[in-house]
Symmetry: C2
Subunit: 211 residues, 2 copies
Amino acid sequence: MEEPVRKRGRPRVLNRDAGLEIAARLFWERGYEGTSTAELTKAMGINPPTLYSNFGSKEELYRQALDFSIARESGCRAQILASALPAYEALSRYLYNIADGDTQPDKPAGCMVSTAVLQHAEENASVARMTAELREASMQVLKARFDRAVSEDELPAGTDTDTLARFYGAIIQGMSAQACDGACNALLKRLIDVALTAWPGKRTTVARNSD
Amino acid sequence: MEEPVRKRGRPRVLNRDAGLEIAARLFWERGYEGTSTAELTKAMGINPPTLYSNFGSKEELYRQALDFSIARESGCRAQILASALPAYEALSRYLYNIADGDTQPDKPAGCMVSTAVLQHAEENASVARMTAELREASMQVLKARFDRAVSEDELPAGTDTDTLARFYGAIIQGMSAQACDGACNALLKRLIDVALTAWPGKRTTVARNSD
DNA sequence: ATAATTAAATAGGGATCGCTATTTTAATGG
DNA sequence: CCATTAAAATAGCGATCCCTATTTAATTAT
């Protein structure tokens, strides 16, 4: 990834990935509308023209920061679903992994994508479409895994895998919202345990106090 | 409510509730940060000083608009839970009612509160706290109904009613997010049917295609 | 009518918004 | 050294942000 080949001209003061990491963190914490270009340039230690020559615009920077953050924060998540694990086991680990991501000690609470840009000014409709498409794509990944489960006889034939994916998608979005409101990791995992009882064929055996 | 008693002085050009209805709709659609005071005054047909003399500030207007909208949009919802219906039946109707609220034809999509101000600029932290408290309160209402269900032997003794409430809270937040992204009423209700299979003691009998 | 009262309208302040034309700096190639 | 190249820094643009000091208008009480 690194290109230490010295070229002509004044050297860059900011590595691209370093800038995206800083931007992603600000956008993650404050959202698209809650983050100003002045805050972004200050956090990156650059002046406005450098931001625009490097990233194009605020919206384009957000798009790149999302890509960067998804690769970094949830890159390994797809592997859980793609693995040879039984579907239920894969789903459990997948959701637990998300709960961990929602409650990292030194990172903003919640998910950068799951609950981003839901309400927005008209002028930011294209940004909202962007995050909505990412959410839709992640639910399609879940659906694809459930379809595979049907074909491998882990789920009954005729299972409404689309609704099942959107149900667990709702859980993921709800976890992000509650993490933003301060929910802890253990709480989210108890919540997941309830959600897992909705897996077709499972009996409800959780949601009990420890007394 | 109406006070048609003529007092001294120039008459008001805008009824308070009419102003709150207009503000609530804008805030609902665009969020707190996505709605400007210029848009608010224009939609109300007033000038800035009138907005401030009537409502105090943008934040105070948002607070009042939330109260107004909650009373109007979900005032009858509490009655469903408070009724003599069995807990499972009450929960079902409650969630279906929310799904209807999330997908009203001539209203903004989603819920004004469930997914509001999750990410935000630092200066709007107090606004975020406000919506977070409303979400917490609504989950406590659910928990109280589940506690009653335990005491009335509709749920097993020792049921973790707090987690169960937060689970259905997550479903409510997820439905709002998906409604914002364009989900239709029927989709949300299929999702609810899956969530209801997590009710302690229920067998999973849904999430099947209609073929 | 005139005074008193109440609210609206005018006009704009200071700060910040996203963004950029222009100039300056720091490197390499000859 | 000097020219070339490429990126950073300076300085600030027009628009919009939330909000308000001041003036004007519309009503009732005397």
